[in-house]
């Protein structure tokens, strides 16, 4: 049987990024994917004739430009269409629009509060500062603060240097920002509910925290640190749906002639001999061998669901079980017969409609939505992040018709009265559709087809434990050198030759590619193959 230099378990975007960089560095790489298609949570599927669904992940921004260029993704078919605004619709006919143009945005804010319009500039400046500060850390390996090895100490000093160079005042701002709740942070700047609700959305998406939970300001940053064509914090659609990203990554990897990708290949065992990985075994019994195995699975799954032929120590298994990876989001994918009419919102030439359409009237609304989650219920009044990519990308739906993706926060991985059932899932879908109907009367009649997904579906289909979209909570106890757990933050797994490249690793989730890139770099370093191309 053919021997490979490296096997990647799971063809999510990070797995593909890692594979592409390893293949480019000359390794023979095999990627094994359990599903029928590659991409993990970045997939496009035609679930209704003529409509392309971005079934899970639905917008991009976070994909590191270094990776975009390094893997030549535009040449491999990836096109990102930036959107020009967003909208927070209220059910009373008013709304808050946001526009990429600063003056237009400011006037819209002034319509709600003059003080807030001005505060927004100060706020945006602070966010920009924080983004610029954190960005260089994304493609860095977190240091090990507990190690006394000279190399680790050097790493630690390098890591600490930007902090010491911030200056006293900014260092305080940064410390506060990393530890505060987004609610408290926004309360310091703004007075208007709808503005705070709008801005807070990004800090709760995908996380099992409420807007008043400390640490959520950082989560906001996590969503803002991306860029589209150099425009910081901008978001956009991948033309042809999120699957285009995966396809481009795969094409880039396969172009080398050294990367083989197999679908319908369910890895169940990690073969270990004398403390060293030797390969993997699939559910059908077939085995593949390589001295390097890279797992794109989340940390909990990697540690507790894969069978290790030499057992992992108990403490590690307990850490795997205690890893905080909580499902908190649901998703509706809907094929529409026409464009919905949001109350009070202009349809023609309205850039605000081209991006996220939120339902997020206030911080307390979000906090209450979170309360439901805590007690095992989907939010009776959820936070919605709706996008209609077909407005910008005609390939997503037939002319005049639209594909709508509805991201819903908060939806628990299991319910207070037991597991998810199809009936409960439909009831959840109905909650969401009812709310959209309030935002856009007549919406219900436009629905041609819908797919409702609770965390249970997300876990079972894509393999993300509990349906957590970030492969693990982005809280202080699971960031930087604590991600996924202290001591395993440097992409190297519990056995020699084993690596982890999923979003469970620093810097975390979103279709960013940074964990994949960082993991590939560490593999190549250990194999003395030099830095990734």
């Amino acid at each position: 049987m053919k021997r490979y230099d490296a096997i990647v378990v799971g063809a999510g975007h990070n797995g593909l990024v890692a594979a592409a960089y390893m293949a480019r560095a000359g390794l023979e790489v095999l990627v094994l994917e359990r599903r029928y298609l590659i991409g993990g949570a970045a997939v496009s599927e035609e679930l209704y004739p003529g409509f392309t669904y971005s079934t899970c992940s639905y917008v991009c921004s976070l994909l590191r430009p270094e990776i975009m260029r390094g893997l030549d993704l535009p040449r491999h078919g990836l096109q990102v269409i930036p959107y020009e605004g967003s909208l927070n619709v209220l059910t009373d006919g008013d709304f808050l629009a946001s526009y990429s143009n600063h003056d237009r945005m400011r006037r819209e804010l002034m319509r709600h509060s003059r003080r807030d319009a001005e505060a927004y500039d100060r706020y945006a400046l602070e966010i920009l500062r924080q983004c610029k500060f954190i960005r260089p850390m994304l493609l860095q390996m977190p240091p090990d603060p507990t190690s006394l090895r000279p190399k680790d100490l050097v790493d630690l000093v390098k890591f600490a240097k930007p902090f010491s160079e911030l200056g006293e005042k900014r260092l305080y701002e940064t410390m506060r920002f990393w530890t505060m709740s987004i609610g408290d942070f926004l309360d310091e700047y703004f007075e208007t509910d709808v503005i705070k609700g709008h801005l807070a959305g990004s800090s709760i998406i995908g996380t099992a925290l409420g807007p008043y939970s400390p640490g959520t300001a950082y989560v906001l940053l996590h969503h803002y640190m991306g860029e589209v064509d150099g425009s910081i914090g901008a978001w956009g659609y991948a033309r042809g749906g999120m699957g285009s990203i995966s396809k481009a990554l795969a094409a880039s990897a396969q172009e080398t002639g050294r990367c083989e990708i197999r679908c319908d290949a369910d890895v169940t065992d990690i073969i270990v001999k004398n403390g060293r990985v030797k390969g993997v075994a699939l559910a059908d019994g077939s085995e593949f061998y390589a001295d390097t195995v890279v797992s794109n699975l989340d940390f909990r799954r990697t540690i507790t669901k894969l069978k290790w032929t030499e057992a992992l120590d108990d403490e590690l298994v307990r850490k795997g079980e205690n890893f905080k990876i909580r499902g908190s989001s649901g998703k509706l994918n809907i094929a529409l017969d026409g464009l919905p009419n949001f109350k009070g919102v202009a349809v023609k030439n309205n850039p605000a409609l081209s991006g996220d359409i939120h339902y997020s009237p206030s911080l307390n609304y979000l906090e209450r939505a979170y309360d439901d989650w805590k007690y095992g219920h989907w939010s009776k009044k959820p936070y919605l992040d709706i996008v209609i990519p077909s407005l910008m990308d005609p390939t997503m739906a037939p002319e005049g018709k639209h594909f709508m993706s509805v991201f819903v926060q908060y939806v628990p991985p299991s319910l207070h009265d037991g597991l998810w059932t199809p009936a409960k899932r439909d009831a959840f879908g109905e909650t969401v559709i009812g709310l959209i109907e309030e935002m856009a009367p007549g919406f219900r009649n436009l629905i041609l087809h819908k797919q409702v997904r609770s965390p249970w579906e997300i876990e079972n289909e894509v393999g993300l434990t509990e349906g957590n979209i970030f492969q693990g909570e982005l809280t202080l106890d699971q960031l930087l050198f604590n991600r996924p757990v202290p001591g395993l933050a440097q992409y190297r797994g519990p056995k020699k030759g084993f690596y982890m490249c999923g979003s469970s690793m620093h810097p975390g989730g979103g279709v960013m590619g940074a964990p994949g890139y960082n993991a590939a770099r560490e593999v190549l370093k250990d194999l003395r193959r030099g830095a990734p191309a």
């Binding site: 237009r104 819209e108 001005e118 400046l125 202009a346």
Partner: protein, 391 residues
Amino acid sequence: MSALKGHIAQNLLPTPFYERVLPLNLNHSWERWEGYLSVGCFDNIEREYTAIRNAVSVYDISPMTQYRIGGADATRFLDRLMTRDMTKVAIGQVAYAIWCDDDGKVVEDGTVFRLGERDYLINVQEQNLSWFQDTAFQYDVSIADVTEELCGLSIQGPLSRQGLEQIGLKDVTALKFFRLVQVELDGMKIILTRTGFTGDLGFEVYLRPEHALAFWDRLMATKLSPRIVPTGSHALNLARIEAGFLQVNTDFIGSERCQRHSQRRSPFELGFERLVNFKKPYFVGKRALLREQAAGGPRWRTVGLDVTGNKPADGSLLYDGNREIGRVTSAMWSPTCKRNLAIATVEAEYGALGRTMQVDIWVTKELRIEKRLVSGRVVERPFYNPPHRLT
């Protein structure tokens, strides 16, 4: 344009003079100014500049932001906010003032009109509402943004008084420098100030937007009208450099808008010494400014430079030998002074009058870039200060 409530269809708003200005803007030269459309250059910059210095120029200052300050503590509040002694500003006086942050760095500058005992109007380039409100905590003051209730024209040039007299503003004859008067002209309520940003004789007129066009038409119907030239910001910028005025966002950045704290500047670094009064009660930034003094004074100095040659030193770096010591923030060849002028920020030790340094000028010559190291000397500002400005 949608008729739907709240939908914002345009990026920039027209000012109340837009209808008149639009057909005159032959260059279609528009610039953004705090959310409004502002003209860069109508037709010919030399003609517009010449009007400022020799006849009458009219410049639309409606985008300026205005705050109306009232209440029992109005004067006490302004005195806390601003670095100069605001208790000395008389009713009918206009005061140029700056305000600082906690670290004694300039937040912004503006002019304060004292309209009554407890009635002030602050006129600024950019919005400052939250800074004012937060500084007014526990003070009995009202702060209202009245930007949209006022529009304005800056009427500048040696013949400006004549022009205003001709439309019937008799009060203009006696109006002294940095004074204001509130008048009514055919039902139009007008605040007339003898101020400007050109260093020439000049006036500013503030009125309600609904009277904008009528006032414009009246001005343009005077006998003097052939010599009244609508002027854009490009020509005005030349005049203000000659006058030695600093422009926010050009020569310095307001401290609340600086991305890097190191970019902030203290009043002493900007040459506003005369606007800082350490003898009055506490004002925001006083402790920090005293600390700056105690630590040996400012790190930077903003200076006027006389540069050799006639190529404007826009954005030039300044050197002492091989050492970079500062940079030019505004520069021009002055047709009136016949000098090559620049405003620059230099390390404090280079700020003394007469000090010379090398100015690194990059000149484009038919697609070729030439680098010229010429000499620059620190000279007095204003560069141009005609006697008729104060008459």
